[in-house]
Symmetry: C2
Amino acid sequence: MFDLDDIDLKILSLKQENACISNSELAKELGMAPSAMLERVRKLEKKGIIQSYHTRINPIALNQKLLAFIFVKSSTAPNSCWQDNSIKDLPGIQEVHHIAGDDCFLIKIRTEDSQSLVKWMREELSKIQGIISTRTTIVLETLKETTNLTIPLTQNENAQQH
Amino acid sequence: MFDLDDIDLKILSLKQENACISNSELAKELGMAPSAMLERVRKLEKKGIIQSYHTRINPIALNQKLLAFIFVKSSTAPNSCWQDNSIKDLPGIQEVHHIAGDDCFLIKIRTEDSQSLVKWMREELSKIQGIISTRTTIVLETLKETTNLTIPLTQNENAQQH
DNA sequence: TTTTATAATGAATATTATTCTATTTATTCG
DNA sequence: CGAATAAATAGAATAATATTCATTATAAAA
């Protein structure tokens, strides 16, 4: 379904790190014509291999200083959040994952501080149906945070990155 | 330090969802000249409010079908990973967070499947010094996954989004 | 080999980014 | 309040880039 050659992988690698690299520079980098490059990129987009282009914003600039992960255990009964996935639309939520083995969600959330997290839990999370329990995990420090995937480049291509 | 007006917030909001929106379209959207818009964006970049532009790639396309979170508890002794943060450079790692209250890291990792996760733990994670224990959490399904922050737009600006 | 489909090139055109000067708006300070 | 200063914006000119399209090359299938 997704057959990617070395050129595709290199495109993904370069664009992953810098979504706004110009098509002409990308073409220069890989030694091909801009028109051919554009066609490849459009194809990667159309096939859904490239999903979207995002801007990473400094959370501090928006006063979202606190990062927390919360395990939310919910009932699996009808009209509980386990059925309707309503959790994901709450404000501040960045990720919601359905966890194996425990019938629970792992959510990633940013708020201003711990007070506002508590406020969020009381005012927002409490709206959600069927929650049985929560376990909150506060992040002290983030050492790495990216959506980047490990792309298998050939050694030669890897060397070019420097 | 970061004083953002409504125009800045709107820029962040639009670019967050679509990093590759053209400067001229952005300017048109906010009813100002491209040159003025460009200056604002450059300023947001220079101040570090805009951190980077990324491409989100479909993990399936790179055969990374498994997503896991692992709590890694480590010794706090010298030359343990607690000191040198070496975990974050292992292949497949997307995030590493330092967790409060437990002297542990929460890492987010993608691999091909559960077999390769086990392989990774045996061959890569085992290289790391000072690890006392791990608790692995497998994701069944991801309901939401974004780095997007909640941006406080005024009601009028919010309405324009549709 | 011939046919067909896929990918790449090169040139022409449209669009966009970028620069710079002039103007406007906001802020500071006497 | 009002001149002086700084900051932000607009508008026009230019440079760079994206996009299109006809042609050529390459690869795959019959």
